[in-house]
Symmetry: C2
Subunit: 447 residues, 2 copies
Amino acid sequence: MNKETLSGYKGDALQALKKAGAEIGDILRVTKDDRTYEGILIPRSENGNHKHIVLKMRNGYNVGVQITPTTKIERIGVGAKPTFQPPPLPKQKENLPKVAILSTGGTIASRVDYRTGGVRPALTANDLYSVVPELADIAVIDAEIVFSLFSENITPKHWTEISKNVAKHIEKGKSGIVIAHGTDTLGYTAAALSFALQNLPVPVVLVGSQRSADRPSSDAATNLLGAVQAAATAPFAEVVVCMHESISDEAIVFHRGTKARKCHTSRRDAFKSINALPVARLRDGKLSMLVEDYNKRESNRKLVLKPDFDEKVALVKFYPGMNPKTIDWHVENGYKGIVLEGTGLGHVGNHLFPAVRKAIEQNVIVAMASQCIWGRLGMTVYDTGRDLLAMGVVPLDDMLAETALVKLMWVLGQTKNTDEAKRLLKTNIAHEFSPCSMYEEEKQYDD
Amino acid sequence: MNKETLSGYKGDALQALKKAGAEIGDILRVTKDDRTYEGILIPRSENGNHKHIVLKMRNGYNVGVQITPTTKIERIGVGAKPTFQPPPLPKQKENLPKVAILSTGGTIASRVDYRTGGVRPALTANDLYSVVPELADIAVIDAEIVFSLFSENITPKHWTEISKNVAKHIEKGKSGIVIAHGTDTLGYTAAALSFALQNLPVPVVLVGSQRSADRPSSDAATNLLGAVQAAATAPFAEVVVCMHESISDEAIVFHRGTKARKCHTSRRDAFKSINALPVARLRDGKLSMLVEDYNKRESNRKLVLKPDFDEKVALVKFYPGMNPKTIDWHVENGYKGIVLEGTGLGHVGNHLFPAVRKAIEQNVIVAMASQCIWGRLGMTVYDTGRDLLAMGVVPLDDMLAETALVKLMWVLGQTKNTDEAKRLLKTNIAHEFSPCSMYEEEKQYDD
């Protein structure tokens, strides 16, 4: 039994499958305690543990079943072995816009994996045309695998790599760039690209999906089509996140990269624009702008690439009983910036004040965002906020905590001068601050 | 100039006010750079810094103005000096239910402060009847100041104290308990009381307000009236959070203590029930239940008080580029539990795996909640989740991260046995887990 027939399995799971004579693609019946699972054995990815086997059930869901000594595995059918046969290239319509699709991994890429050949980790233009043939009517696709990662494994170094890759394709004259990305940290990456890619001539559209395409409820193809259409033809030239607007397939929205947050673990409309409207909506094939203050597409504009991030920045969420030494630890370990995710209008318990003051005295930039998520800080309303301001804490108004983290990493990648860094942090670069009156119910707190 | 006339001011602010001959209650015109503020000088609370003075503007807002060497202060009028004159006690209707109002501080208590005499920090029954006279028609109030804190300064020790205080009043035969609390950490305290006060005979209603009552848009009186009405007469006997349902005054809702989260920095409907319906709604004076699975009021039921919390528990929010040594630090510093606020279905980057494994090997309970906020974990769907489960990470399904922190503190206050603690952590004690089918769009991931 060679490696490919049970690709990705190891340890107990591998032994149990070998004992049952099972191979990838076989239909298995697995009985465990009083439950029975029937489905097609699918390959595992490289980091798989040794305890689970994964079946694709008839309803389209993948289920991980933990193997115990009493688990019984029967091979009840032989499935089609995954083979990779590239489809013929569709007839290219050379007068169409050219769009690059950069794959970084995630559910939206995994769709293509399974359909085209088991563990094949990502997409080529041919793969894409074969699974979403409508793409050939919208754009000429140039597909590139940047890497193949679950997005929880994407770090600031990857943001740099993606940014440079986008710049390369813009340099080549693409009409727009689509980036396929896992949804887990898609919001963080979108914020990162919003700061790294300035003065954009064309749209940069991050796209994910919440369900792989082998599920009946998949959003992968709809989102990808929407992303490519926007990249090819949308009037805006900004970094956006393209996902379902609601749980129906009716509309796709484009959230600003600095304002997009994953707010649901599994729904297709997991992403929301926080304290802002989405930039645009695509419905019935027609894209309409929802905001007026957007950067317009202008292919002659010269991209300014600023891809550096400093990882010595932490996001620290405040909670009751939090130990102030958590802050000290970051300072002692060379952190240059700390974003506090405070409560309400921008508060932390006053037992943290000495640690915050010490951090600032040691030239660490301490900034404040709110764990409420929605709304705006108001640090002059109560004494706690005023005291923190007096210490030098930088209030980040209505900026998302996740965007604040990314921005502070980016700011400290641009300059090591603390005053200049604070100035940059407070400068509205990519709509990370919304105008004050826009989403507030009432007049805001002011000083 | 004695201490009371400029109560709470110190340093530069005090000097500047003295120089202008200003006293609390005076109408001041403050000119700074090119802006001018006019308003009544109001007192500061004890922790005030020395740089700001606070004016109540004509529109009802309090504004903090930082004093710089060029700031000009003019006294343009003499306001009414705050005096405290207790109103006559209203005629008590002794056949009404008896409700305790325990004040812990916060905006809802500060209302009473200003109206009744400057920095007077909290409420007596008389204060309450004088500012919300309608209370006398609903219940006989027994008001007690437990402490007077901005809620960001409330710690697990205070949760214990509040719990014991509630128990004392239930022992005395109250029909219900209202707890006035700052909104910043109201959700954490509500979760804490939900675990500490088991087998409740009567309702325990936490109430806050987002605007102090001296503002035109205040929600303080409406919320307090609703809270007292529920405490006096509602059919449920659970720990709930009472706040506005929307930005209008139309309805008040009662969120379950384990499911309530502050999701907006300033709106009156800041609190939302996450992955659950609110327990009840009060509209036009009528309370209607929104759920069926609630604990019914039964005055003969014997409260079980379990007020202990272990503070050696941390909430750690994952982010790209996070240093695994953050986890090591908690283990090395004697933490017994860590709630990871992971991404999506319950993930962290695989560079954290060795640190997580080491923590678990050293008997630290590592639990997972999602930073998405809405939705449910699905840790068997991807390899990352399966690997974390295989290490022994405890998945907390649809539990709020904040509730998870509080519950793990509470669990480790009940037992030091790790297996027993994990069992308790996974047991649904106060509706912190919602039934699986309730708010999901589709069938859930399963193993």
